[in-house]
Symmetry: C2
Subunit: 239 residues, 2 copies
């Protein structure tokens, strides 16, 4: 049966685990049928497709790179195959496309033109960190990167702490991996001792995964090294 | 090889699709090894386990129900098998456990006692709706249910609209399925015509899935019926 023509949002592995641990088999069957891709990085995308199925003939596929360097006026034309009935895939470098990367522009254009959009299941470090934190999942916010400047960052952290104190919401953010330890320093000095902090690190990597939730007071005494490890930070008011 | 002892957070299907379309095969291998479960609903959990593998002998498993009726002082004892080295699973009725259900309490206790927590990949209608919306995935908030009262709800919606106008964030919420159409009425009358609204409905159900993003002005003219269909609502400021 031919694949339904749509813009498929295809999650990519975020660790070196076997794909069968982190992606449904159905995704692989869909990927095999797609000839046109909008990707954050062509090299990563090719490697992922080869990992899905060695028999995929990469040279017969078309790739368009959608990232910070893209001429955004071109993106609409990349959906032309879909306008004539062929499926198009969107992939980011890791995790779920269009969540924290430029893929959402392709999705917005598809909606503008009444084209069908189909997201597939896959690893989202944000949602997995939230599940693993033990914090409130009924009300949460993801803020991307906080300010780099120490004073501005401390202010931003205290503002999120106040919001959680007010309404019980969970606040999630990320950092460039080489700055993770510095984030932890600012965080432990800026926040109250009984505020809870979760660090979810190397999610889906069975050998390295670490998800730890403790009070700021306990983090102050803890020994850790998150340098260069992909981490998600979550904060929540004291229980 | 014996399964690493941990509290496994096991996502459950959210539609009647074959499990191989929505869950990694690796999850099934993990589920087969677990004898102790903390679940939102025992009947749903049994049905899910049978769907994972008909050969699972349900009668040899222990189930504890964690939901609105649970005596919360009991939950800690349900982690006793894990304290003596046996894996324990957490499952909600649908989707990712501990995100919008009481499972997070079991996770919080595990962290308090230094027990390992491992979230697995699976369908999250929230993250899939966000991917499929075409809205900003770098900054978003999930608010659960909005107030039921029409006036309070209209105020809450306008407040989310203002926040998106201020900082470009995406706002996500849900409704009891039989009230979906009423939500759409309040939403289209309360919000500005150029504010964008996405409704993601029956996500992962290949026959019924519908993800539509339009301006409020276009929704006012649209014909739809979301009654009793599981839907996620997202709003974002005009582009």
């Amino acid at each position: 049966m031919a694949l339904t023509p749509a813009l498929y949002l295809i999650p990519v592995n975020i660790s070196d685990e076997p794909l069968s641990n982190v992606l449904p088999e159905g995704n692989i069957n869909i990927v095999r049928e797609i000839k046109h891709f909008i990707v954050e990085n062509v090299r990563t995308a090719r490697r992922f497709l080869k990992k899905c199925d060695r028999r995929i003939d990469i040279d017969t596929l078309t790739f368009h790179e959608l990232n910070a360097h893209t001429d955004l006026t071109e993106v609409s034309s990349w959906l032309d195959p879909l306008r004539s009935g062929e499926p198009v895939g969107v992939m980011s470098e890791a995790g779920c496309p269009a969540v924290a990367d430029p893929g959402s522009l392709a999705v917005a254009i598809a909606h503008r033109d009444g084209l069908r959009v189909i997201p597939l299941v896959g690893p989202s470090s944000i949602i997995m960190a939230l599940m693993g934190s033990g914090f409130n999942g009924q009300s949460f916010a993801f803020h991307g990167y906080l300010p780099v400047d120490d004073a501005a960052r401390a202010r931003a952290l205290r503002e999120l702490e106040s919001r959680s104190q007010r309404d019980g919401s969970t606040h999630i953010f990320i950092e460039t991996p080489y700055r993770n330890n510095r984030m932890m320093q600012t965080l432990t000095s800026a926040l109250k001792g009984d505020t809870m902090v979760c660090v979810a690190c190397d999610v889906t990597d069975s050998g390295r995964e670490s998800i730890i939730t403790m009070s700021v007071a306990d983090w102050r005494r803890a020994v850790y090294d998150y340098t260069k490890r992909p981490a998600i930070f979550l904060i929540h008011r004291a229980k």
